[in-house]
Symmetry: C2
Subunit: 407 residues, 2 copies
């Protein structure tokens, strides 16, 4: 049984395709989500269905796989059953790949004012806030209120924060101005706030500097070394400085899902389950935890980052391990993470790419970013449609999904 | 001032583009919706953003037009102001084009069990129900419960009902079977229930008969002369016959929006405002009501139907009338509805078209239907993307927007 059909869970299922096993994939949603492009849904560039696909559809041809949409409420490790409300589903091997959720670092009361971006629902809610802020500003007479509505704060300078800030700035600068009569959307203030010393902290420093300059060229105010100290309906505060804002997006913290609690396993402060080198839970060789839910380490003992390639490689490896074990064969060679590099886009013709041996920035990185992301989408249909949407946006600056739907 | 940016309101705004007036378009949503394709959103074929566009975007180039997203709460006819909550917006000429909503014919308690299809929100809610019914059936063990989950009832045999029934049947028969392991989605029961003697009652009888046969060929059970007498969480009843169903869609009744109440004007039983031949409210030559909100009559005294072409032609005519009046010129020639015909699609390669002098059915009507609907979409982007989505679905039977998003 595989719990969670994210990048890790799906790869585990696929790796078991030709093994003599029954695979049951359980997820509380019916779709697999391509999270790296979720910020484009939140900024009205893409529709949800362009970055999400039914799990059943993906596993349609894998005849040994069954998919169940259900909420996992607990795991009975002793009886080897997953609890789905009233129901129980038994397993011989369990792979827990339930991903991560937001964390406000102990300030969970900020959540309603600074929503995070992890699900389709999050993305459409943020899109709703951003578009409504412009609509309300257009109807507003009080200059201070207009200012607050026209201020967008993105907290967290990782790839998601950088990409959100760039996309909101382009929306305000390029897509919307001609549509409004009373307000000048080009005067929108977009702030990217990062507590650490630089944006894109996992990238080499020169690329961080380039990303900051590129954001600033778009009009984004980048604040580094600026931890958010308060957040409420009025906006955010950095120490004594208050920034009135109607739209705050939280791209700063993640916490693992409650898997450690379900399993009664040891976890780190972020809630990630501490796993053995083969991703099993200590003392439970039949229970594996992968992806953002696990604290795995590389050969040098450094924690592996919470990114899609790590989850995918772990999922594929654990799938093979289970297949080998069922067949009574030797385990595969120890897991080694192959780092294929990292990418982040800032805006039109601006991105950074770091492959270790090669660093790219500017338009070449941007094209590379676009091609890689189209390649990783699932299915010909999504690739064609996203390519068409991007091509159209590139020509016209238009955003295709500027819908405010009653929440 | 124009209240409502549906087919009628938008045409009225556009007809005033070169008049020496300020146009204010007020709508409670930020988008204009192409309702004829809404059933495709409800059946997971299209995404919302493919059939809806920001009103501001549509009127971007019309420099005398301003758009305001706001809820109209009343109209003060004496002071010539529209009430938007606390706010008031003054007008010299008012066009009310607020459309229609659902009516359960006095059984408003049925609403939660048999939702209607008028807005994006309605469409995604119905999509949610349909897709969840299959998901829950897959997880269910009790045969009676599976049967109920696999039964889909569409109430109302007009174009929306016929198109919904055909699309649900194709979803169950063609798109889903390979994705499910325990249930056979091809055994889904789709019922189209019509109180009157035939489906598509506004079409010539031979086309109604063809439509019924085409639906039956798709496996839809068509019940004519069958008024629904009860509706609850368990399903619907037709007299003594109970039909257990988890998914009921109401495509039967419409009622006008509360415009008559706002205006203190005379209305018919469906709530439509009785208007003069120039669409003004009797005694108020500065207030016009058009589209589904108005009861207008053709030269023979028959009420004009509540369809998009009527609303569009009325909107354009009233816009011209106002422009002429502001310029002090003679009124345009009296309004005459030019009936361009009617269309309805049943499923792959099956549709009906009635142009009065020409009737088409089968694949030729289906191609015509597709081309006309692409033509009427707004903008090159939507046309390209919908054409691509349809082309892809035609080749593969796949549905691109099968997302269940937490409500």
């Amino acid at each position: 049984m595989i719990v969670g059909a994210g990048f890790g869970g799906l790869e585990a299922a696929k790796a078991l395709a030709s093994a003599p096993v029954d695979v049951l994939v359980v997820d509380r949603r019916n779709h697999h989500l391509f999270q790296p492009l979720l910020y484009q849904v939140a900024t009205a560039a893409l529709s949800p269905a362009e970055v999400a696909w039914p799990i059943r559809r993906i596993l349609r041809k894998q005849r040994n796989a069954r998919v169940l949409m259900a909420d996992v409420t607990g795991i009975d490790v002793e009886r080897r059953e997953v609890l789905l409300g009233e129901r129980r589903e038994p397993w011989d091997f369990l792979v827990v790949a339930t991903g991560a959720t937001h964390s406000w670092f102990g300030n969970e009361a900020w959540a309603p004012y600074a929503p995070g971006l992890k699900t389709i629902r999050d993305a459409t809610a943020i899109r709703h806030r951003i578009l409504c802020a412009f609509e309300r500003a257009e109807a507003e007479d009080d200059p201070a209120a207009i200012e607050r509505l026209r201020t967008f704060v993105i907290v967290g300078g990782g790839p998601t924060g950088v990409e959100m800030a760039g996309a909101v700035a382009e929306l305000a600068l390029k897509s919307l101005p001609a549509d409004f009569r009373r307000i000048d959307t080009r005067k929108a203030r977009v702030l990217l706030i990062e507590a650490g010393p630089r944006v894109l902290p996992t990238f080499p420093e020169p690329l961080s500097r380039y990303a900051q300059r590129a954001l600033e060229a778009l009009g984004v105010e980048v604040r580094v070394g600026a931890p958010v100290t308060a957040c409420d309906a009025g906006g955010v505060a950095i120490g004594d400085e208050r920034i009135p804002s109607a739209t705050v997006v939280w791209a700063a913290g993640v916490a693992a899902s409650p898997a450690a609690h379900w399993l009664g396993a040891e976890a780190d402060r972020a809630g990630r389950v501490v796993v053995e080198p083969d991703f099993s839970v200590p003392g439970r060789p039949d229970v594996f935890v992968i992806g953002d839910t696990a604290l795995a380490r590389d050969a040098e003992g450094r924690p592996l980052p919470g990114v899609a390639p790590v989850a995918k490689q772990e999922g594929a490896w654990v799938g093979r391990l289970i297949a080998q074990r069922v067949l009574g064969r030797a385990a595969p060679r120890p897991f080694r993470y192959r780092d294929a590099g990292q990418l982040a886009t800032i805006g039109r013709r601006a991105a950074v790419a770091d492959f270790g041996w090669l660093r790219l920035k500017g338009w070449i990185a941007w094209w590379f970013w676009g091609i890689v992301h189209i390649y990783f989408l699932i299915g010909v249909r999504s690739r064609m449609i996203v390519a068409l949407e991007w091509f159209w946006s590139y020509l016209t600056y238009d955003r295709g999904a500027r819908l405010i739907v009653d929440p």
